[in-house]
């Protein structure tokens, strides 16, 4: 424990003082400020939509401002934070020859990797929490919204999910930094994976869905085919943690959302009778809607870390 705490403290110190982190944080803080400011302005103009919803405060996070909403922003750039924080954590030590020095101290080897991972998670938590608090402040100042208890709980859940999501990327980049001896290779590998999961998987899902259940634009397609197409697309794109995270947080931030599916088959009576009461879901139900997503997200984070831990522990590090 002694060693773990020392590594943890040192790593946090490194993170917060490094130019890399300062530049990245400045960039992200700026983007999130602008996004929330735009969302706030947007909300103030569109008070009608604000009046309709039961939880207006959450709209600060779900309303797209200039380009994307706060939730989408974390989904796309959260990975970048995680990757930048972790891609050189082990192999830099190794390249500088400090890893051997480190383990020659009265510090266990698992304390090194645990400390590095926890420091990354801590850094990200501070970052996300501060961004959320800044946006909350913006909401109070620009729109005059005060969050209710339910909204605070939902934001808390959102924060936890976001921390797990970014932690996944930290774990992934640490794994790469263990696997690849060269810093450049691990940076490229993490970047490539990020782009693959972000851009390639949705396109691939589209292609696969159209191959299995083709929708012809010229002919009328059966409802079942359209549903099948949409389901295949959704399930395939769930391979991307970004999609996983986006769907999970969408249901948490928007209490009206009662399914993660983009399209559902609904009878006319069902549609009519379900639109009779437009009530937001309680938080417990929202959580149950996206519970599979949350489970998978937390599980892959832990598994990814477990794999990097295993690889690092079994690796020969003296050479």
């Amino acid at each position: 424990m002694q060693g773990l705490y020392a590594v943890f403290r040192k790593e946090i110190c490194d993170h917060f003082t490094s130019y890399r982190f300062v530049i990245l944080f400045a960039l992200i803080a700026m983007i999130s400020l602008i996004t929330s400011y735009m969302a706030g302005i947007h909300l103030r103009e569109d008070l009608e939509a604000l009046a309709k919803t039961r939880y207006p405060f959450l709209m600060l996070f779900s309303t797209p401002g200039a380009m994307f909403s706060m939730v989408q922003f974390v989904a796309f750039f959260g990975p970048l934070i995680g990757l930048v924080l972790g891609f050189d954590s082990i192999n830099r030590e190794r390249a500088h020859g400090t890893l051997i020095k480190l383990v020659s101290q009265p510090i266990y080897r698992d304390a090194v990797i645990n400390g590095k991972f926890l420091a990354g998670v801590m850094t990200v938590s501070v970052m996300l929490l501060s961004i959320i608090l800044v946006i909350t402040g913006f909401g109070l100042a620009i729109v005059g919204l005060v969050p209710g208890v339910e909204e605070i709980w939902r934001l808390f859940v959102f924060l936890i999910i976001s921390i797990f999501y970014v932690s996944f990327w930290i774990a992934l980049s640490i794994l790469f930094s263990i696997l690849f001896k060269s810093i450049v290779t691990s940076a490229l590998a993490s970047g490539a994976l990020w782009i693959f999961l972000w851009l390639i998987i949705p396109v691939g899902a589209n292609v696969l869905a159209n191959a299995v259940a083709p929708i012809n634009a010229h002919e009328e397609t059966q409802a079942e085919t359209i549903i099948k197409n949409a389901r295949i697309k959704e399930i395939t794109s769930l391979a991307s943690p970004m999609v996983l995270y986006s769907e999970a947080t969408a249901a948490i931030i928007d209490p009206m959302l009662n399914t993660t599916r983009s399209i559902t088959l609904m009878g006319p009576m069902e549609k009519l009778l379900s639109s009779r009461f437009q009530n937001p879901l309680p938080l417990g139900q929202s959580l149950l809607v996206v519970f599979p997503h949350l489970t998978v997200l937390i599980a892959i984070t832990l598994i990814c870390f477990a794999v990097s831990y295993l690889v690092f522990m079994l690796q020969e590090i003296r050479t």
Binding site: Y108, M269, S274, F277, L288, F291, T295, A299, Y309, M313
Partner: protein
């Protein structure tokens, strides 16, 4: 030669002009000829003639016959009229719309229409009665006589009330106590003058009885009728809502200072139909899990005064949902009786989480009652526990890893 020819042309033209002129004059001459004809009227001529010289009426009925008095002479005349003979027991006079008439001024070639009105006294029996009418010019030089024979036949049927006649086609109406009854009365003025008749009605206590003109939505308490005119009056009756089934008489009185008439109406109440339904605690919301039945107790109460038969249950629900009632129907429910019905609502296992509206309708012939329920479909927490189990498993694996390969 040439001159002669011209002369013959001229004469020819002249003759044509002459013919045309003659024709023209002949054409315009006709009215002049008519005037000549009028001049052919006798110096003085008057006549009086009734429309019908003999009529048959039933006993006790008044008679009105048009009298045509005409002046056939060239001079305008003042004509005196009088009835030369009136049979015993009759009252007769010559009148216009409102006045009795003894003399009339008639211009040359014109005629005037008057009325001979004869009213039999109470003791006038069946028989033939002759009325003599005489018209005389003012100077007494010309007279015209005429007569009317009235044959009175014995009257059959009920004795009619004097001065007013009330006829109702439907004197008995039946229906539920919460309904509205409308009788139609035909009121006829048998007096020989205009009169205002007061309308009053006496019915059971707490009943509301109003008079209305036919086809009009206003309440009246009197009606003005001209002589011999009839008017239909509606009697609107609202029973006391909690009145027991049975027969209720209503007496309608139509009266003026000179005459009065009565009519007996009857309302037969069959009892009213009313249905109440709801839940025991008044809560109309329900939680249900996807694909799992949810129960609700609904009470059905007959709050009317008549028994309800064959009560059925219907529901409006989303597709693929199941709504079951137990019992499926109630054969009979006595007045003020209360019965409990168990409702089982099963959302489809594909249902989305959220609030749905489910409408339950309880139908009993002519009355029905609907209850709208808010059914909140919740996701089953079972998958949540499975998810937590998976995470616990992963954490356990990590812990195992820490112990197994850690501390190196």
């Amino acid at each position: 030669m040439k001159l002669k020819q011209e002369a013959s042309y001229f004469s020819c033209l002249l003759s044509i002009i002459l013919i045309v002129t003659v024709c023209f004059i002949a054409g315009t001459c006709d009215p002049a000829l008519g005037k000549e004809k009028k001049k052919d009227l006798p110096e003085r001529s008057i006549s009086v003639s009734p429309e019908y010289t003999g009529v048959i009426v039933s006993q006790g009925e008044d008679v009105s016959i048009d009298l045509d008095v005409s002046n056939g002479g060239r001079k305008d005349e003042d004509i005196e009229l009088k009835l030369t003979s009136i049979p015993d027991g009759w009252k007769a006079r010559i009148k216009t719309y409102s006045y009795g008439v003894t003399g009339v001024h008639i211009k040359s070639g014109k005629s005037k229409s008057l009325t001979l009105r004869a009213e039999p006294g109470e003791n006038v029996g069946p028989g033939k009665y002759t009325f003599g009418i005489e018209a005389r010019t003012a100077d007494g030089k010309l007279t015209s006589k005429s007569h009317v024979t009235i044959t009175v036949k014995e009257k059959k049927g009920e004795k009619k009330s004097k001065g007013i006649n009330i006829i109702t086609s439907y004197p008995v109406l039946r229906g539920p106590a919460d309904g509205k009854f409308e009788f139609s009365l035909e009121v006829e003025n048998k007096l020989d003058k205009d009169a205002i008749f007061n309308l009053t009605a006496k019915g059971p206590e707490n009943w509301e009885i109003n008079f209305k003109p036919a086809y009009e939505e206003k309440f009246i308490s009197s009606v003005r009728l001209k002589s011999d005119q009839s008017q239909s009056v509606a009697v609107e009756v609202k029973p006391y809502p909690w009145a027991k089934p049975g027969e209720y008489p209503i007496h309608v009185k139509v009266s003026s200072p000179e005459a009065k008439g009565e009519a007996s109406l009857m309302v037969t109440l069959t009892g009213n139909y009313k249905l109440d339904a709801g839940t025991a605690n008044g809560l109309l919301s329900l939680n249900a899990l996807r694909g799992k039945p949810a129960n609700l107790s609904v009470y059905v109460k007959n709050s009317g005064s008549a028994p309800l038969n064959n009560i059925r249950f219907l529901s409006v629900k989303p597709e693929n949902w199941k709504v079951k009632f137990s019992p499926e129907k109630i054969d009979s429910l006595a007045s003020q009786e209360l019965k409990q019905v168990e409702v089982t609502i099963t959302p489809t296992d594909q249902a989305l989480i959220g609030d749905y509206s489910v409408l339950l309708t309880i139908e009993a012939g002519r009355v029905s009652k609907s209850i709208e329920l808010r059914v909140s479909v919740n996701a089953s927490a079972a998958w949540g526990w499975i998810g937590i189990g998976i995470i616990v498993l992963v954490v356990a694996g990590l812990a195992f890893l820490f112990i197994k390969v850690g501390r190196r």
